[in-house]
């Protein structure tokens, strides 16, 4: 009895999964590089600060090799995920919103940067009521700023806008109240 004529089709290489495996291997490499950079004092020769990093590195290497092997055998991404096409445009707007927040939070302060992010993310998710989103974002950012950050005693860079907007919310609440 021989198994020469295996009927199984050659497994297809799964490129995304393979890149994940290789990326993880690169991470293990970075761990090794950073572990070598840890200066070890001879006083701690028993179990120094490098033992766990090395163990982690070995673990990561083994796991990434197993993942690469799985990728060579056809990958593991669930069918349901594979069939769902990625909405790059929506994601793009979310990413732009996040980056805008990162770039603008220092020059403009938390509130302005948050409103811009809010509007971009809403747009990405398909909202077309931009003006309404600006107002919602403003109320939410201010609520987050005053209600959340102040209550928790967290200091989130108050730009001049926060102070300027104080008058705006006053007006806003009075219109809502009236």
């Amino acid at each position: 009895m021989s198994t020469i004529n295996q009927p199984a089709a050659p497994p297809r290489l799964a490129v995304p999964e393979l890149s994940i495996g290789i990326g993880l291997l690169a991470c293990a490499g970075a761990v090794a590089w950073q572990t070598l950079a840890i200066p070890v004092s001879p006083l701690y020769s028993k179990v120094g600060p490098t033992v766990f990093p090395y163990l982690t590195m070995v673990g990561l290497v083994v796991l990434s090799l197993l993942l690469i092997l799985a990728a060579l055998r056809g990958g593991w991404q669930p069918e349901e995920e594979k069939e769902t096409s990625t909405d790059w445009k929506a994601m793009g707007f979310v990413v732009i919103g996040l980056l805008a927040n990162l770039v603008l939070i220092q020059p403009l302060g938390f509130t302005a940067a948050s409103v811009i992010m809010f509007v971009l993310v809403c747009y990405g998710f398909g909202s077309r009521h931009t003006l309404r989103d600006v107002l919602t974002g403003l109320v939410l950012a201010l609520a987050a700023y005053f209600g959340f950050a102040k209550a928790l005693g967290v200091n989130i860079g108050a730009g001049f806008i926060e102070n300027q907007l104080n008058t705006v919310i006053d007006a806003f609440t009075s219109t809502l109240g009236g």
Binding site: P16, V31, I38, V47, P49, V94, V95, C122, A144
Partner: protein, 507 residues
């Protein structure tokens, strides 16, 4: 009976007006975030961690525990009415619950899940109160070697045994280890994994990790699959009162669910998926109304898993409070709240922090009462929350994510790390890597390292401490079985099933 005295004292702590307010706030907030898809207790507690600098430990833990329990109640509402499980623990609830809602029995489904949660949550909390002192007696005998081995066992169970793949679960866990090691090594003062950046010397804050993985990652994921079909809210029809027949079918399921959920939650394995699936399978098997399963929705299929879910949520608190061993992402973040107060959860916690622990346990009983009121008569309020449109919901989540992250040190570097972790979280969702082991590895990894180095220092660098102590050896053996056992089993099954196919001439 000692426990009853402690509990009475705990109730005195929990019934103070301010603590009652914290409990009310926590349960309300918890229900809200449980109802809202995309927000979970781990993320919410992480965002609220800065409160630990402001208020007494009792207050913040009563708040956190209220959120933790509340999210379990709220999550079932979303599962039943929207068919989108808010959390992995409520997947099973959606199976039958949504079917019931579609056939006009949503009210009964919500009622059995809320009352079942109450029954199981109360039984589970009683379990915590009586089991915790027992575990403590046992845990006092633990040395560093045993602690390390116990953590290894927990690592294996939370990452490799639960979930769809042990390799991917362990990968998440090891990624968590790496994140947890960033910063100054506490024992020698050496910086590790900082890539020469001073911003990384303090390590990556657990808030950033949780917000990145759970909020940013989730938002990117939802944006990427915007066209993947939307779930509609099933309008709430029918009365919220269960008929006598429905009560009759529910109560046994509640008790069975609680009996399954609590022990599994209390084991160092943790996790709510196994007990809920197990309870579902048992209810399906025992039910006299099998035809209702998967068609119009069977009430037992909601009652059992919901009870199992809440009882296991209570069970998770046992290893957390007595051993300092978190077995879910939420518990891991609560552990970091303990650390922020300079408290080390472990066997001594029950005596050194008696007010805190017993006040917390007592507040859980109160939380259950508040929650059953919040989630039955006031259910209409929460259903309205479900109507928040996705664009504004996710954009709003990102605004709060920014507050939580940027507020730590006003450093844009933190936002960069947040986004990197968010991108990682997105890929993990797309490629079926579990995210909870990252948080657990990040929090528990450094603790395991400390115990490991302690054990090695005591033994003078002799590795045999880990296998010469019988208890430690047992724990490591269990971990090994947990890691290898399922694969060996699958291999044997595979062989057995494959056998007949290889008969010559079969092709």
């Amino acid at each position: 009976m000692e426990t009853l005295g402690h509990l009475a004292h705990g109730f005195a702590v929990a019934f103070s007006p301010t603590n009652l307010l914290w409990c009310l706030l926590g349960t309300t907030l918890g229900t809200a975030i449980g109802v809202l898809p995309g927000l979970g207790p781990a993320l919410t507690i992480a965002l609220l961690l800065p409160i630990t600098y402001q208020v007494a430990p009792e207050a913040s833990f009563i708040l956190f525990a209220g959120i933790y329990y509340g999210a379990m109640y709220g999550g079932s509402t979303t599962s039943i009415l929207l068919n989108t499980p808010g959390e992995s623990a409520t997947i099973v609830t959606a199976l039958e619950g949504n079917k019931m809602a579609r056939s006009g029995r949503g009210g009964a489904a919500l009622a059995t899940s809320a009352i079942g949660s109450f029954v199981a949550g109360t039984l589970g909390t009683l379990g915590v109160a009586f089991l915790a002192p027992v575990v403590v007696k046992f845990a006092l005998a633990f040395g560093p070697a045993e602690y390390f081995s116990l953590m290894v066992l927990a690592f294996i169970t939370v990452s490799a045994v639960l979930g769809s793949s042990s390799v991917r679960g362990l990968t998440s866990l090891f990624a968590g280890f790496v994140i947890g090691m960033i910063g100054v090594d506490l024992q020698t003062g050496q910086p590790r994994f900082t890539f020469g950046m001073t911003e990384l010397l303090d390590g990556v804050d657990v808030i950033i990790a949780a917000v990145g993985l759970f909020a940013v990652g989730e938002t990117l994921y939802m944006a990427s699959r915007r066209y993947a079909g939307k779930d509609e809210i099933v309008p709430l029809k029918g009365s919220l009162y269960m008929t006598a027949a429905e009560w009759g079918r529910s109560w046994k399921a509640w008790l069975r669910g609680a009996a399954i959920g609590f022990p599994i939650g209390a084991m160092p394995a943790g996790g709510a998926e196994i007990p809920t699936f197990l309870s579902y399978a048992i209810e399906k098997k025992l039910s006299k109304h099998k035809e209702e399963f998967g068609t119009v929705g069977a009430i037992e299929g909601v009652a059992g898993p919901e009870a199992a879910n809440n009882a296991s949520a209570a069970g998770v608190l046992v290893p957390m409070l007595t051993l300092g061993l978190p077995t879910s992402a939420t518990a891991a973040i609560m552990l970091s709240a303990f650390q922020s107060y300079g408290i080390n959860p472990g066997p001594l916690l029950l005596t050194t922090q008696a007010d805190l622990v017993w006040g917390l346990i007592a507040s859980l009983f109160i939380a259950n009462v508040i929650l059953v009121i919040l989630n039955l008569p006031l259910i209409g309020l929460w259903v309205r929350l479900l109507k928040i449109p996705a664009p504004q919901l996710y954009a709003g989540i990102l605004v709060f994510a920014t507050v939580g992250t940027y507020g730590i040190s006003q450093s844009p570097i933190d936002l960069v790390i947040l986004y990197l972790l968010g991108a990682a979280g997105f890929l993990m969702r797309r490629f079926d890597f579990p995210t909870a082991p990252v948080i657990i590895g990040m929090i528990l990894g450094p603790l395991a390292e400390t115990q490991f180095r302690r054990a090695m220092t005591i033994s003078n660098g002799d590795w045999s401490v880990f296998y010469k102590h019988p208890l430690s050896l047992t724990l490591l053996t269990l971990a090994f079985i947990g890691l290898v056992g399922p694969h060996v089993w699958a291999f044997i099954e595979h062989r057995r099933r494959r056998g007949p196919e290889h008969v010559p001439g079969d092709a």
